[in-house]
Amino acid sequence: MDRLKVNIGELELQNPVTTASGTFGYGVEYADFIDLNRLGAIFVKGTTLEPRQGNDYPRMAETPSGMLNSVGLQNKGVDYFVEHIYPGIKGYNTCIIVNVSGSTLDDYVKCSERLADLDKVPAIELNISCPNIKEGGMAFGTSCQSAANVTRAVRNVYHKTLIVKLSPNVTDIADIARAVEDEGADSVSLVNTFLGMAIDAETRRPRLSTVTGGLSGPCIKPIALRMVWQVYNAVKIPVIGMGGISNAADAIEFMLAGSTAIQIGTYNFIDPAVSMKVIDGITDYLDRHNLKSVSEIIGKLEV
């Protein structure tokens, strides 16, 4: 299985197939469906310094080939994670990567510091792109300046692999990617959800309690793929691509466009075993195309 191995910063993933934060709980939710230890990595739920109740119901609206969510980072806070959740999941034979979210720069820094001590958390993903919280969140990810600031601050205190997750709600995502690369990020992951909205024509009301929410699923794939391609051509650090991946062909497209690893998010809800099928599908693809390893696909789009 060495042919599937990829590296992100100091991490070696057994394969490029990982699951996206906020769509995969802490992994345990999927333990009945798949062998978690086969995953390249698990990006666990968005974690904040303080506990958060999240937004009001309704938090979800179905859209053509996708969905909007406005969960708003419901989680019990980093202390609870460290004390109560981490012990239960640290035995997984895959990388546990924590998605760190916040409202202020200080939140990010403190939360990251707290996670730095955890042996079995070899990396964090800095979520500067959550569209569902009132303060901070996406705002950090929509200007080079603020993206650079938060990356620099966290880089100062966090010395393991630092992945920064980018927002697609920007004019030039490559610019932002370069800004966080310059501040020492080991990798960028993209995309987070697109800011969207749904209305119930009959009641004249928004379908989400928060009016707007984050769009994910196959509908966003073409835009996400384009952004991965742009970012891959702009930075030297490895790119982790995502946005609407629902099968192995999608995953390979993201890798051809320059993703060293990929994340599967929303489609886990439709098929909780999709990640296993994607791993198998990539192996099958390598076989059919007589390729030795995934490095022969990453960024190998023929333009």
Binding site: G22, E29, F33, Y57, G217, F269, P272
Partner: protein, 257 residues
């Protein structure tokens, strides 16, 4: 929990908007133990407009035939397309999902109140109570006679009271108007149906200091606790209707008042 293909054994319209679909595992696997109140997530693979699975209660489990029943009301594209699946075709389900109604330890006076397609889980629950040797009573409500579903199945399990809004069957009015509620004191009430009905039933239960569980139909994306979209605000904080529910004790719910 499993993801599994089921074969549709039969698919019968019960009236103008409800179908009863009986399914069995395509690989002939024996159905696992399942409990009343639990539900399945149905993949809708024959529609260009439906992306997410649709949650549907387990209406009944026929152990002998290794069949599960789904009672479905066509309210939109998803339920319509599920109802268009002919016998012999496959339905992919994630199952069994959610918690279940509390089965009491000893005999008592139990009332199962269902409105519209909310009667779906009540048949399975009635069966379980019946198997325990209890004598459940059913109170079923609908707009009109044709909206009262599976009446003879319910009658086989216990006494059935009905209300219809137009008076075409049983007493005229809403379930909570039925005289049986005035003339009896119950040990426990179970309810599932439209929100306004459940609110009324819950208030009745609370007024009468009767224990009561309600099964909620919150919007769901995953159905198994991964997305946190289906939350219900409770006295214990935001809980997932798909894993902590769909059955909640009304004392935990905040929408009764």
């Amino acid at each position: 929990m499993k993801v599994l293909d089921f074969i549709v054994r039969s698919n019968e319209p019960l009236n103008y908007q409800n179908n009863l679909i009986k399914v069995t595992p395509a690989d002939n696997d024996t159905l696992p133990d399942m409990f009343p109140g639990q539900f399945v997530q149905v993949l809708v693979s024959n529609s260009g407009n439906v992306f997410l699975r649709r949650p549907i209660s387990i209406n009944f489990v026929d152990k002998e035939k290794n069949e599960m029943w789904l009672l479905i009301q066509r309210v939109g594209e998803g339920t319509r397309k599920i109802c268009e699946t002919p016998a012999g075709q496959l339905l992919n389900l994630i199952f069994p999902l959610g918690n279940s109604f509390t089965i009491p330890k000893k005999e008592g006076k139990y009332l199962l109140v269902g409105g519209g397609v909310g009667t779906a889980p009540m048949l399975f629950l009635g069966k379980k109570l019946n198997e325990k040797g209890y004598s459940p009573e059913f109170l079923l409500g609908g707009r009109s006679q044709r909206d009262i579903l599976q009446l003879s199945d319910f009658e086989a399990l216990g006494t059935v009271y009905c209300t219809t809004e137009d008076g075409s069957l049983g007493e005229k009015g809403f379930v909570t108007d039925h005289s049986v509620l005035r003339n009896n004191v119950y040990d426990f009430i179970y309810t599932c149906g439209p929100k306004p009905m459940m609110v009324a039933v819950a208030r009745y239960a609370r007024t009468n200091k009767t224990g009561c569980e309600a099964s909620l139909e919150n919007l769901m994306a995953c159905g198994f606790g991964a997305c946190l979209c289906c939350i219900e605000k409770t006295t214990r904080g935001n809980l997932c209707a798909c894993t902590d529910g769909p059955v909640f004790n009304i004392n935990e719910l905040t929408w009764i008042d």
